[in-house]
């Protein structure tokens, strides 16, 4: 390491050097290099002592010299080396001197494993000469357009050219020229002139994401990163290549030319787009969110993010955000003051309490907010005395799943067998997909998948068992009887990833299959694959239904039956998110009054009598709980839009307005003035969250696991419908990009949602006598809809698959929440 500490570049993978003070807090760099594996406990048979620059340092058997050096604060300049990917020795920048049998040798430290008594020197004159030479070569063709480059200011090449470069170049020749920049996907631009061919993006695409759609093309001086002609780099993880690019060759469309790194301020947070809970930094300039970057959290996301989570900050800056509360008048929804809205809402609740009693009030949603939001609303529901509450809208699993012996993501990714009994993880929980794919690819785990159609995980599965929708319990029973599978499961260490694979089935079908599986495999742990950001937190903190008679679907049915006086929607949009769209519509028609708390005007808020404008992600602080029960902090980085307030604040204000019928004079929430008060109250009052005070969580950037009280799954029974005159059984499942408001309001993501289409097996399409793309009528026992039809060999014969919540055609119209499965007929139109 050079002595001028100011000039020692920070690695840009996780956090670019933006503000030194913030960086210190985050200390992500250290984490990235340092916590790749668990800490070594001395004495350890894996410890290898090497001599580095005259000091003895402890390395681990099998690791490379550069990994050992970086972990021990000996900086070695590098570009291609990345701790989460296999070394390739592409950039040759990390040369060091190692004492060999014939004297000192110059080696690349990212390709050299440590050995006992190895003598390494990282900063001799010879080493410096070699490193300076490499920088000079790397810059020979680099355009040095730093003033107009997005990476300038946080660029490893720029930084290391200063700290480890010769200062001058001997090259006077014309540099290599390419067209710049060219889009390689809807989100990513490639500037080949800036590229130093480090192989990070191409390695990421191949090794980590499993989408090798970019590759080195040609050779020698013409080598370049490229896609196949007309086949863009369509990957759910494409934003990561922008983050790990050590130069400005790859830039992301949503951030291009938006800010300079030194203008950004940042805060560490946890992504709540889905329930994986990836660690991020949220960065802003002039009070506007501009970028999310992944932070390497060893137990969770390893530094990766999915594109939906990375780029949906655009929605928060959207012009369509709700900025003030609104109230329904004869002229429709009109803006009002907070006082007016709170009075009106309190009035509606008081009327309902006087008229229909607490049973006539229902809360839906709460899974999109923080733990504090869910806790405050749950306490309000407790105070009012209503049993009607659910953070899920009939698209999840019973909350009892959280009380099973729960696995962590790490346990799942190191299990000997991973049983997938749930959704397509690539579509719903993308970074969990990366972790489990890694487990299968590295040979740590075997994946046993139960699925009705091919999923993103199918290519990596040891065995992928196809079953007819609605019969997974039978598939599980016969699989357990298979000798190969029984032998594999008998090895122990089994983790079941359980969630809803098909929204056209009832949840009971999945529960039955899970019960059969847990009965057959002793000691199996369960990782609940519920999707919404903080669904586990909301369910654990009091927004879980008391029983199946008061869950989301039961509430909607009660509303449809006219039994609900006031329906409170906490960031929930049942009209788009409930699998039975017809039930949701009838519920909205039947509920007397609706109060909505939301960040956007969505279809459901249009029907509300009172709308509260809620602060969005990045505009409020708090904590969140991921699917494994890990509580971590969510940071506020920008001011809330308009007059919008965090949900917890709205709950408390409303409770105070309702008065005696909710927060009595000694109610603990009366004393709450900050979000930290609530966090501490959760830590003091909720079992499982004990000790998770605000001050503790700020220290524990990787989060802390909660314990859930042990429960067992509810008994389920459903009629196994035989197929009668309907030829196809329906599978409806989510895609990563859908009509969800966070995606639709993000300019760069809007067009990535697929259209509503029905897919059948190519042979079935031939049999139907219709051409690809023709409209067909799809008829269920309940209703019919018209959709274009396309062939897809991922769909087995006799099954019709359609993505959920893609708008227009509305496959959700023909799903009946009461039936266990949905059979359909296809008619030509």
């Amino acid at each position: 390491m050079t002595s001028g500490t100011d000039e020692v570049p920070e690695d840009a993978d996780v956090l670019e050097e933006v503000e030194a003070d913030v960086l210190e807090d985050v200390a992500a760099d250290e984490r990235e290099e340092g916590e790749e594996l668990e800490e070594i406990e001395p004495p350890d048979s894996n410890a290898v002592v090497i001599n580095m620059n005259g000091k003895d340092v402890v390395a681990r058997k099998g690791e490379t010299v550069i990994a050992a050096a970086l972990r021990n604060d000996e900086y070695i300049p590098h570009f291609c080396y990345h701790p989460r990917m296999s070394p390739v020795g592409m950039c040759r920048q990390c040369m060091v001197e190692i004492e060999g049998p014939r004297g000192p040798m110059m080696v690349v430290s990212c390709m050299t494993p440590v050995a006992e008594d190895q003598v390494v020197r990282t900063a001799t004159d010879e080493v410096k000469r070699a490193q300076e030479g490499m920088i000079e070569l790397l810059l020979a063709n680099h355009p040095l357009d730093c003033p107009v480059c997005d990476k300038g200011g946080e660029c490893p090449l720029q930084d290391q050219a200063f700290s480890h470069g010769p200062g001058e170049s001997r090259y006077v020749e014309q540099k290599r020229h390419y067209e710049k920049p060219i889009p390689i996907s809807d989100l990513v631009y490639l500037d080949r002139e800036r590229c130093i061919l480090c192989d990070r993006c191409t390695r990421f695409a191949d090794e980590v994401a499993g989408d090798p759609l970019i590759h080195f093309i040609s050779r020698g001086n013409n080598t370049q990163v490229m896609t196949f002609p007309d086949e863009p780099f369509v990957s759910y993880f494409s934003g990561n290549v922008v983050q790990i690019c050590p130069v400005g060759a790859l830039t992301a469309k949503p951030y291009r030319f938006k800010a300079r790194p030194w203008d950004l301020s940042q805060r560490e947070s946890t992504c709540t787009t889905c329930s994986v809970g990836c660690r991020t930094v949220i960065q802003s300039s002039r009070d506007e969110l501009l970028r999310y970057q992944g932070v390497d959290s060893d137990p969770v996301n390893w530094g990766w993010l999915c594109d939906r989570g990375r780029f949906n900050f655009e929605a928060i800056n959207s012009d369509h955000r709700l900025t003030t509360p609104m109230i329904k008048t004869e002229a429709g929804l009109v803006e009002t003051s907070w006082r007016g809205a709170l009075d009106a809402a309190a009035g509606l609740i008081n009327d309902a309490l006087a008229g229909g009693g607490a049973e006539s009030i229902a809360l839906l949603g709460g899974a999109r907010g923080t733990n504090e939001d869910a806790f405050a609303w749950a306490r309000l529901a407790d105070a009012i005395g209503t049993p009607n509450r659910d953070a899920q809208l009939g698209d999840g699993l019973p909350a009892e799943i959280l009380g099973l012996d729960r696995a962590t993501i790490d346990e799942a990714a190191n299990a000997s067998t991973i049983v997938l009994l749930g959704p397509d993880l690539k579509e719903e929980l993308p970074v969990l997909y990366l972790r489990l794919r890694d487990a299968a690819e590295k040979g740590r785990s075997r994946i046993l998948e139960f699925s009705a159609t091919d999923s993103g995980m199918t290519p990596y599965a040891w065995k992928s068992i196809r079953h007819e929708p609605g019969t997974q319990h039978n598939a599980v029973v016969s699989a357990l009887a298979d000798s190969d599978i029984a032998e594999q499961l008998a090895k122990g260490d089994v983790v079941v990833v359980a969630g809803r694979s098909n929204l056209a089935d009832s949840a009971d079908v999945t529960v039955a299959a899970l019960q059969k599986l847990l009965a057959g495999v002793q000691g199996a742990k369960v990782l609940p694959a519920l999707r919404r950001g903080n669904v586990v937190g909301a369910l654990s903190l009091g927004l879980a239904p008391a029983d199946a008679d008061h869950d989301g679907l039961a509430i909607l049915q009660a509303a449809a039956d006219g039994k609900i006086e006031v329906l409170i929607l906490l960031g929930a949009d049942p009209l788009n998110d409930c699998p039975d769209a017809d039930l949701a519509r009838r519920a909205f028609a039947g509920a007397r009054r609706i109060i909505a708390v939301d960040t956007f005007a969505c279809e459901s808020t249009q029907h509300a009598d009172v709308v509260f404008a809620a602060a969005a992600y990045g505009e409020k602080a708090g904590t969140t709980t991921n699917l494994e029960g890990r509580v971590s902090t969510v940071g506020q980085q920008v001011t809330a839009t308009g007059t919008s307030r965090p949900d917890w604040m709205i709950a408390i204000e409303l409770g105070l307005k309702i008065g005696d019928r909710s927060f009595g004079s000694d109610h603990p929430l009366r004393g709450v003035s900050t979000v930290d008060d609530l966090t501490d109250m959760i830590a003091n009052t909720v079992t499982g969250f004990a000790g998770l005070s605000s001050s503790t969580l700020v220290q524990q950037t990787d989060g802390v696991l909660i314990e859930s009280p042990s429960t067992s799954l509810p008994e389920v029974s459903f009629a196994e419908a035989g197929r009668v005159s309907y030829d196809y059984r329906l599978v409806v499942s989510r895609k990563l990009y859908d009509r969800a408001v966070g995606t639709q309001m993000s300019r760069s993501l809007t067009n990535l949602a697929s259209a509503s289409v029905a897919y059948v097996h190519p042979l079935d399409l031939d049999g139907l006598g219709v051409a690809e793309g023709d409209d067909v009528k799809i008829v269920s026992a309940k209703a019919a809809t018209i959709l274009p039809i396309r062939p897809d060999s991922a769909v087995p014969r006799g099954i019709l698959w359609s993505p959920f919540n893609q708008g227009s055609g509305n496959i959700e119209d023909i799903i009946d929440w009461r039936s266990a499965t949905t059979d359909v007929r296809i008619e030509r139109v």
Partner: protein
């Protein structure tokens, strides 16, 4: 145009079956497609990617590393004129100029009738015989303007058909390995016993 023909698909499947990992058949299959079309077409690369379960980008990336795979329409005869030192001293520039004049095309282009593609080449390892050129990688030594004209005439008339097969042809006899003489296909990680040996002659 130009995925692999039905005949070549059968051949491709046979080639794929020789390897424990189907991805290993990538380069032989690219050869096959170049043999079929004289160059490697985009459709053929997509087809190959499909057959061995990789992405087209991986096929293109791998194939484009190799100089002798061509990705643009190429004449039946590819003439490489050496321009490295010895040949250059012995009149390679003048030869190339003559070739361009005679064929009516610039180096790198193909004649309108699709018969001949002309291009610059580096050393062909026959410096004592300079200036040299290659027609579909078959050497021609001490080439004069006259012998070049003669060569083009012969190529056009078909007089060299038996000696020089069309560009892309790998060999006139394709190797056939009967199943009983083949080494059992086994992925390296699955090998538990020692190496398998081909039986050369009965004991």
């Amino acid at each position: 145009m130009s995925r692999l023909s039905d005949h070549n698909v059968i051949l491709a499947k046979e080639i794929i079956a020789r390897y424990p990992k189907q991805k290993s058949a990538l380069i032989p299959l690219v050869h096959l497609s170049q043999e079929q079309n004289g160059y490697v077409t985009e459709d053929a690369m997509r087809h190959i990617a499909d057959m061995i379960d990789v992405t087209p980008a991986e096929v293109y990336g791998t194939a484009s590393f190799y100089e002798m795979f061509r990705f643009e329409p190429t004449g039946k005869y590819l003439i490489n004129v050496c321009g490295t030192l010895s040949c250059s001293l012995m009149g390679a520039d003048s030869l190339m100029h003559h070739a361009e004049q005679t064929l009516g095309i610039k180096a790198g282009a193909t004649t309108d009738d699709g018969l001949i593609t002309l291009q610059h080449a580096e050393c062909q390892a026959a410096c004592t015989e300079a200036p040299t050129l290659q027609v579909n990688y078959r050497h021609r030594y001490r080439v004069t303007h006259e012998s070049f004209d003669q060569l083009v005439d012969d190529l056009r008339s078909g007089a060299l058909d038996t000696e020089i097969p069309p560009h892309g042809t790998l060999g006139r006899n394709r190797q056939q390995i009967p199943a009983d003489r083949a080494v059992a296909v086994q992925a390296p990680e699955d090998v538990t016993t020692g190496p398998a040996w081909i039986q050369v002659s009965p004991a």
